[in-house]
């Protein structure tokens, strides 16, 4: 008895903790067994006589359940207590440090990197290999950065949940494609026109949904996105339906086209023809467009209209009591967001040379919205980082050919994209529920600009 008394109290606690962890892990194992038994344990395959055969995969099932149980056990014993201790510490210091690091070091570096990116790629992999890297990573990501920043006005600042943002992207793309083919107008004339048309549609959508909030608004915008897509599919005479529009004119540099002919870019400048010039040109066009979007975002936030958007997100009734016309304020948010989608859309059409309704599905809206949400609503840098991770991640998975050598020739890494997105979402929800950059920077200050923890900021319920 004396020995037991002498034992330190926390040794006893550790013993209980161990037992508890084991029990918890066993329960987790049982749940996963129940879940994976039908999903993994049994498999049906069709044999050469087209007959279904039920086979079992016990080793795989046991392996899965075993590793889940083991991981849970290790997590509970080794990781959870440490995390708990970490949670007790005030998080302010790391937050502030992260903020400073972002402002002083990361942003200038990122800007410089984005500017010299095409040169770096050309230097690294040469002319032929660079096309793929600049186009798939640079241009593709920048389109989504721009779309994210555009949607950020509607969702992040004004707090209006828009699930049909891709509709305006489609309007921009089809405006450019149809007008360019019908009237032969140049990209540079049609780019602003596509923006204007898209913002017109933004206002058109805005009017009926002004009185809706939150979930209801989200449903209607979702439906609007689908309506636009269905019109594009079914109005065959105008849009050529599923087949899409081909041969969309490419943008030119002050009238100099990027082709192999005598008046083409390469010939004019005495260079050997290569598709790389056009890709680099497109890269800088979308970079400029994205920078303009960012500039608008930053400037608008400090203007009365931007403050009114944020105030609208915080409390609509208080806004009205201060004499703010909430109808106009919401409509300008919709129009402004749609305008940037229109710009991005017309760029997309000009870059692809081919568009079809396939490019404007709900999945696109969801991707853009998740970029905004993951990045932290209202945060410019957050949205950019999220776009790089989400879109760059997808593209990287397309490039992972070496995995085929490990998992066999039928293995397609892009098939796992949604699974990884799901994991990323769960991780974000768990650790950063308000997005990567979860602080709000005030638009004006008297003495010091203190960032505001996003816990105080309303999420925007429409």
């Amino acid at each position: 008895m004396a020995g037991a008394d002498a034992m330190p109290a926390n040794a006893y606690r550790t013993g209980a903790h161990l037992f508890g962890a084991m029990r918890d892990a066993a329960i987790t194992g049982l749940i996963s067994l129940g879940l994976f038994l039908p999903l993994v344990g049994f498999q049906t395959i069709t044999d050469i006589h087209n007959v279904l055969i039920l086979t079992t995969r016990w080793p795989l099932l046991l392996g899965l359940v075993g590793s889940i149980t083991g991981c849970r056990c290790i997590y509970l014993i080794a990781l959870a207590p440490r995390l708990e201790r970490g949670a007790l510490r005030p998080p302010q210091r790391t937050q502030a440090l992260l903020g400073n690091l972002l402002r002083n070091w990361f942003i200038p570096f990122a800007v410089a990197f984005v500017i010299v990116y095409p040169m770096l790629v050309v230097l690294a992999v040469g002319f032929t290999g660079a096309v793929r890297w600049i186009d798939n990573f640079g241009v593709q990501i920048l389109i989504y950065v721009m779309l994210g920043w555009g949607l950020n006005i509607v969702v992040g600042l004004a707090g209006l949940l828009d699930l049909g943002y891709v509709a305006f992207y489609a309007v921009g793309a089809y405006s450019y494609a149809l007008l360019a083919k019908a009237f032969g107008l140049s990209f540079w004339i049609l780019l602003p026109l596509a923006g204007v048309l898209a913002s017109f549609w933004g206002i058109l959508l805005g009017f009926p949904v002004l009185r809706l909030r939150g979930d209801y608004l989200a449903i209607v915008t979702l439906a609007f996105g689908e309506i636009i897509r269905l019109i594009l599919i079914n109005w065959v005479a105008l849009t050529n339906g599923y087949a899409g529009i081909t041969g969309i004119p490419r943008p030119t540099l002050f009238g100099i086209p990027f082709n192999a002919e005598d008046n083409g870019f390469a010939a004019v400048f005495g260079l050997e023809f290569s598709p790389i010039y056009r890709v680099i040109f497109l890269y800088y066009v979308i970079l400029t467009l994205a920078v303009i979007t960012c500039y608008f975002n930053v400037r608008l936030r400090r203007l009365p209209i931007g403050r009114a958007w944020e105030a609208l997100r915080e409390d609509e009734i208080a806004c009205r009591s201060l004499g703010i016309n909430t109808t106009n304020t919401k409509l300008t948010a919709f129009a402004m967001g749609a305008m940037f989608a229109g710009f991005a859309g017309s760029f997309f059409a000009a870059r692809q040379g081919f568009i079809s309704p396939e490019s404007f599905t709900f999945l696109e809206s969801a991707t853009i919205l998740s970029i905004v949400v993951l990045g932290g609503m209202g945060s410019q840098i957050g949205v950019a980082i999220a776009a790089v991770v989400m879109i760059g991640g997808t593209e990287i998975m397309r490039q992972l050919d070496f995995l085929k050598q490990i998992f066999g020739p039928t293995f397609d890494p892009t098939q796992y994209r949604m699974l990884l997105f799901g994991l990323a979402m769960v991780a974000i929800m768990r650790w950063r529920p308000r997005g990567l950059i979860a602080t709000r920077v005030p638009s004006a200050f008297l003495k010091t600009r203190k960032t505001i923890s996003v816990d105080l900021v309303t999420e925007g319920r429409g």
């Binding site: 009365p304 403050r307 409390d315 009205r320 004499g323 005030p442 600009r449 105080l456």
Partner: protein, 303 residues
Amino acid sequence: MTARDGPTVLRVEHLTMRFGGIVAVDDLNFEVKRGNITALIGPNGAGKTTVFNCITGFYRATAGRLALQRGDPALWGALESLTDSGKRGVVRPGGTLFLLERMPDYLVAQQARVARTFQNIRLFAGMTVLENLLVAQHNPLMLASGYTVLGLLGLPPYPAAERAALDKARHWLDRFGLLDRADDPAGELPYGAQRRLEIARAMCTDPVLLCLDEPAAGLNPRESAELNELLLLIRDQGAVSMLLIEHDMSVVMNISDHVVVLDYGVKIADGPPDAVRNDPKVIGAYLGVADEEVARVEAEVGL
């Protein structure tokens, strides 16, 4: 407190508000004099906030006329012709006259210059104290930014207008003792400071009439006394008339020049505070008990 007999700024006539079969406000008539603090009191559910919502345009009154006048009192002469004309208001160089029941809520604030606070504080919690005051100056700033176009390009007069707006915000923050919290999020302020901020925000709209819905609710006696001082200070500057709903009788009796008492949507008393507090109908409405009981409670509250 003596009632100051200035010109009328707000005239409420035959105001009636029905919600389905319920009559929340029934044929209410009263006036608010310029530079006065008029208190609207009554037991819970008497219809005080409904009156506020009608005046500020959040509800559309079922019937009645709500006229607000600014500047030259001679404009009251135009009231009948304005009512017949079907227009919202008359704007003359010497002043304005508006029929509030014809205007949507944001125009009541923007054009007729009626500012209000809310019973449950409605601040922009995620924005700083300063930003709250800048949002209140939205309309003049919007004009100065050329409806955003000039502002985007950084062209005048927006930068000057923004500096002026910051100065005005600083002035009211100083006045309300919130200057050192200017850069903190409004949601982090203590309750009493949030109440003060809401009034400061309303003052930033340069109101003609300030409607305060229970400004002293939830304040401790010291904060409540400070608030009284502030409201008297604003009143003595003369530009703003105040209409306030209050349950705290010490506030009502100390600062109001005129008291209107509502019970079940009907006006039961109207007059200077001293007259109202001795009115047996008012005492009955509040306490609803026999005379000796009233006498006891009166003794308790020091009458």
